[in-house]
Symmetry: C3
Subunit: 472 residues, 3 copies
Amino acid sequence: MPQPNALPLAPHPDRLLPSEPSRRAVARRLLAHVADLPLVSPHGHIDAGILARDEAFPDPAALLVTPDHYVTRMLYSAGVPLDRLGVRNPDADPREIWRLLCAHWHLFRGTPSRLWLESELHDLFGVREQPSAGNADALYDRITAALAEPELRPRALYHRFNLEVLATTDNPWDDLADHRALADDPSWKGRVAPTFRPDGVTDPERPDIAANLRLLAEASGIDTADYAGYLAALRDRRRHFLAHGASCTDHGVEAAGTAPLEASAAAEIYGKAYRGEPVTAAEGEAFRAHMLFESARMSVEDGLVMQLHPGVRRNHHRAVFEEFGPDTGCDIPVATEYTRALQPLLNAFGREPGFTFVVFTVDETSFSREIAPLAGHYPAMKVGAPWWFLDAPEAILRWRAAVTETAGFYNTAGFVDDTRAFCSIAARHDVARRLDCAYLSGLVAEHRLSEEEAAQTAADLAHTLPKQVFRV
Amino acid sequence: MPQPNALPLAPHPDRLLPSEPSRRAVARRLLAHVADLPLVSPHGHIDAGILARDEAFPDPAALLVTPDHYVTRMLYSAGVPLDRLGVRNPDADPREIWRLLCAHWHLFRGTPSRLWLESELHDLFGVREQPSAGNADALYDRITAALAEPELRPRALYHRFNLEVLATTDNPWDDLADHRALADDPSWKGRVAPTFRPDGVTDPERPDIAANLRLLAEASGIDTADYAGYLAALRDRRRHFLAHGASCTDHGVEAAGTAPLEASAAAEIYGKAYRGEPVTAAEGEAFRAHMLFESARMSVEDGLVMQLHPGVRRNHHRAVFEEFGPDTGCDIPVATEYTRALQPLLNAFGREPGFTFVVFTVDETSFSREIAPLAGHYPAMKVGAPWWFLDAPEAILRWRAAVTETAGFYNTAGFVDDTRAFCSIAARHDVARRLDCAYLSGLVAEHRLSEEEAAQTAADLAHTLPKQVFRV
Amino acid sequence: MPQPNALPLAPHPDRLLPSEPSRRAVARRLLAHVADLPLVSPHGHIDAGILARDEAFPDPAALLVTPDHYVTRMLYSAGVPLDRLGVRNPDADPREIWRLLCAHWHLFRGTPSRLWLESELHDLFGVREQPSAGNADALYDRITAALAEPELRPRALYHRFNLEVLATTDNPWDDLADHRALADDPSWKGRVAPTFRPDGVTDPERPDIAANLRLLAEASGIDTADYAGYLAALRDRRRHFLAHGASCTDHGVEAAGTAPLEASAAAEIYGKAYRGEPVTAAEGEAFRAHMLFESARMSVEDGLVMQLHPGVRRNHHRAVFEEFGPDTGCDIPVATEYTRALQPLLNAFGREPGFTFVVFTVDETSFSREIAPLAGHYPAMKVGAPWWFLDAPEAILRWRAAVTETAGFYNTAGFVDDTRAFCSIAARHDVARRLDCAYLSGLVAEHRLSEEEAAQTAADLAHTLPKQVFRV
C-alpha cells in the first residue's frame, strides 16, 4: 500500500465534534467554555527529572517514537523490528527511526496516536504536511531545529500546556529528589506531585521482590524482615510521599481481588517473598488481594486517594519481554471481574468518610454491568477514565454512554492522560474535552439536558472533578 | 459544585428523538402513530392495594424519593445517608428529604431518573422549574397541594396514564385479596393482574425459606413437609393465581442454570430447607436450577408465561442491607452465562407449543452473543426488554442494535417498566416508545426499512407484542 | 400481526449510508470509489461443484430458503417446523416453502437477511414488490422462470458478481476433483480455491473421528494408525491442497486454547481416537488445542494462512440436531477467551516471517479487550471480519469502532462473506463496502482523516487487504 505524499496536516478546529449541524453548534459552544481551563494531570508516567533538569529534548525519535509504546507496538505489528525503532538499542540512528514512522504513517489512520501526533507536530513544530516517506527527512530537520529553541524546553511546555498540576508515578523507595528539587526551586512556578505506586513491593511473584523489599527498608530506615516491619515501612513511605505533595496511590494488578488474609497467613507469604523463596500462583494472588485491602485501610488512615488499574496481562510476548523489557507494547487485557472481587474492600471501607477509591479498567464490558452500578452506590468509589487501549475517541464515547445513565457524571473522576510522552499531554486533554463536549451536545440536541447545565457539567468534568477527586 | 437556580423545566416534545433532521421527522411521525396507544404493563412492583384503597399519596418524599432505589442510591453515592432519605426511618421529615433531592438535582444529569422525574413533575404537578436548593420548599408545597386533588388519586392516574392492564409481583402464599377486591368492585374499570414469583420458596439458602414453606402450606392447604407435597402446593398456588387473572410467573436468581436434578436429590436438598438446616452453596445453586426447570415444566402444563431475571448479586453492601434491608440500591450485576445454562430447559421445553419463556439480563454482553441467537432459534424463547440499570436511553438503543439483527423485532417481548414508583409508569413507557421510534427512524433514514413497515413495527412493539407475549 | 400487501421493493442507492447529509455526501463518494472493484471471497461454503457443473438452480425454495440457516432459523423461531421448510425433507413442496417465507417476511425487518434477500430479488429476478402472502405465488413463478435463463447459471453469476476469486471449504480427504475440473476447463475464466479445514480429523470427540482418520489415510496413502503417520498425512494433504490452489486453512473450535502437548501425550489421545475409543472432555480439549498449535507450525512451514473460528457451541438443540443434522441454525455462541488461550501459539509463531493468523470471533466483547490488542502487537495476527451473527450492519460498525482505535485498519483482514448461499455473495460484499464507507465517512466528517486517505483506505479494505492477507 503506497501512501500519498504531502497531504496537508491541519487539525480542524471542529475535529471530533459531531458532524450533525445542530449538535456541532452546541458542542462548539461547550468547547469554547472549557478550552482555556487549566489542565489537571493527576495520573501519568512523566519523569519529574525532565522538569527538574529542563534540558532540551534530544531528537524527534527520542521524543515521539522510541518511548511511546502506542507507536512502537503498531509499527511492530506491521513487521518493523523493535530494535530498529531504538527500543533497548541506543545504536539505532534517530533519523532512520523517524523515517520508519513516516513510511508507516497510514497504519495510524483512525487511531488516537494519529490525533495526538498531528496536534503535536502542528502546534509545537509547525509541521503542515502529513508525514510520508517523501518528507521524512525534511520533517526530521524541522523538528530537530525546533527542539533547540527555549520555548520547547520542558518547563516552557508545562506552562504553554496550561498545566496546573502534574502527577508522576513513583516507587515506594524513591527519594523524590527531583520533586524536592522542583519544590525548592524559586524559578519553578508549576506543581509536580509524586504518586505512591507500591506494586514493586506488594507482588510476591515478581523476580525483583526481595531486592525491592531491601530498598524499602533502606528508604524507610525500618527493618522489613517481618510482616509488621513491612507494613510500618509502607506507612512511613506514604508519609514521605505526603510530605512531598502526593495525594494518590496507584495499584496495578492482573485480578481485582481484594479479600484480606489473616495476618498470620499474610506474614507467611510475606516471609517467603522476603527470603526470595518462590510462592505459588495462589499465594501470589492472595497476597496481592490482601495488600489491596491493606492499602485501602492505609488510605482511610492517611487520606491518599487510592487508584486501581487491574486487568492487564503483562509481557504477553515472552520473547519480546526478554529481549526488550517491560512496557514495550505486549501487555494485553483480560476479562476482569469487579462485583465479587471488590466486595471485601468496599464492604469494609466503601462508606468511610474521606476515603476515595478510583477504579479503572481495560475491560469495557464491566462499565455498565459492574463499575457504574458499584460507583452508583458506594460513596467512596469513583469511575476512572477510559484507560490505555480505551483512551480513544470511540471508546471514550462508549464509556460515557455506558456509565452515565447509572452513575451520572458526578461519580466519574475526570480525564487522566496516563502518558509517557510529555509532548502529548495537551493533545490528550484536548481530545478528552472535545469528546465530553461531543457527548454532552447529544444530550442537549435530544433535549435531555439544558445547554446551561451541559456547560457547567463540561467545566466540572474538565477541571472541578479531577481536582476534587484526586485532591490536587 | 453549586447548581443553577430556577432553570426552566419543560420537557421538549421531541425529546429523545434523533437530532438529525431527516431522522427526527420520521421519528416524530412514528411517535404520533403510537403515542396514544394504551399502556400495557405486564411486569412491575406496584402494590395492588394502592389501587384497591385508592387513597391520596401522602407527600412528595414518600411518592418520589424514599421508595425509589434509583433515586436513593444516587444520593447515597454522593454521601447522603440513607436514613436521612427516609429509608427505614419513619421519623425523617419529608420536607427535609425533598430538600436533599433538590439540592443534589445535578447528580441526575444524563440519567433516566432525571427524564422520568421531569415528566412527572411537569405533567402531574405543573412544575415549571428544575428543582434546586432555592426552590425546594416552593416545589414541596406545590406538589403536596396537588396530591390532595382527586385527579391525582391512584385510580384516576391509572386511567390518565391510559393503562390497559397492570401486573403486580406476588409471593406464592399471597391471598391476592386486593386483586379480588378490585375484580369485585363494579366502580373499578381497570385491570390488575398478579404475577406468580416463587423465589421465596425455591431458594434453599434464604434465611426465611423454612418459614416461607409453612406459608406455602397454609395458603395451599397442602402439607409441604415432603418434596411431592411442595410441588403439589406450588401447582395449587399457580391455579390460584390463574383464577385471579395471572398470566405470568417471574424468577429472580443470581445464576441462570436450569439443569434438573434427580427427584431424590431434589427431595434431599428440599428436606434440609424445610427443616431449616443449612445447605451448601452448591446445593443451593443446584436446587434453584432444578426449580427453574420444574417451573418451566409447570408452565408447559398450565400456560403461565415464564419470566427469568438472572444475574444480580443481591445486597452487595452487607452493612447497608443489615441496617436498611433489601431493595435499597446495593444489588450489583455479575457476568451471566446463558448458552450453556439454559440448554437443559430449552432442550426439554423450547419447542413446546404454548410455552413462552422471556429472558431478561443486566449483562448486556450477552445480548448479541447469547440471548439473541437463542431467541432467534427456540420458538418458546423471547428477548426481555432492557432491565434495571439498562432501562435507560443509551442502553435501550444499544439493546435494539444488539438483538434486532439476529432475533428481529418479533422475538422481543415489548417494554416492561418494572417500576416501584407508580407515578413513573407513564413516563417510562413514553421514554421506551420514543426510543423505539428513534431506533426505527434510523432504519428508515438509512433505507433499510420502509416507513410504513416501521410504523407498523412501532405499534407492534408498543402494544401488540407485549399483549401477545405476556398474554394479558 | 398482519402484513402489508405489495409494498414496493426498491433498494435505495444510498442504503446503509449515514443519513446526516455531510456524512452521506462523503460516504457516497467513497462508495463510488470502491463499488466497481472486483470481489475477493477468501472464505465461504459454496460447493465448487456448483460452478463445475454450471447447472441451473432448481427453484426459489432450494435457492433462497432451505439451505440458508439464517432464514430457516428465523422462521423456526416463529414456530414454523423445519421439515415444512424442506430441511432434511425432499418431499416438501417448494412452492409451499416459498409461501412460508413470504407470509413471514415481517420477521426479517431490521435483519441482514432482509437486506441480502432484497438485493437478490431485485437485482437478479426483477422483483419490485416486498414478498407477502398475497404475492407469494406470483413471485415464485417469476423467479422460477428467471432461473431457467442462462444468465442466472452459476458461472454467469460468478462473472456478473465481478468475482476475482472464490474460496471453498473442504475436508482434508477431499480429492478436490471439482476444483481440478474447473482448473482444467479452458472455457472457465474464474478462480475457485479450496481451503484446508481439518476439523474432521483434529477433534477426538467427534463420533466420526475414526472413520475420518481412515479417509485421511486413504486420501494421503499414508498409514494414520500412529500419531507420526497422522501428522505426515496432514502435511501431505496440505501439499495436495496447495497444488490445487489453496492459500488458507480454517479451524472451527469451541475454545481457543492453543497449548501444545508433549508428543507422547498427544500420541496417546490420538491412539484412542484412531481406535474409536472414547476420550474425556479434557482430553478432547487438550488435543484440539494441541492441533491448533501444530497447525500453526505447519503453516509456518508451508505458508498456508491460518484462520481460526472459535466460540460456537454446535448443535445446541439436541432434538433438532438429531432430526435435522448440523448447520440447521441451532449453533449458539459462548464467551470466548483469547488473551491466555492464544498465548502459546503466538509466543511460538507470532513473529515468524511469512506466517499469517486470522482470528474471528462471535463474542464481540473480545474485540477491543483482546483481539485488537493482540493483533496490534503480534506481526502474524490479523483481525478477522465480523462473523456469523455479527455480519450485520450495526455489528459491523461496532466492530470497526471497537478494533480500529487499537489495531488500525491495516491489521484487519478484509470482508469474508462466509456464505452457503451463492446468490447472496454480491449482496453481502455490497453491504460490507457500504458499511466501511459509512464508518470512514464519520472519520472524515469529524475531521479525523482526510477524504483522500479515506478513499485509499476504503479501496484497501475492499480489495488490497483481503488479497494480501489471504494470499489469493
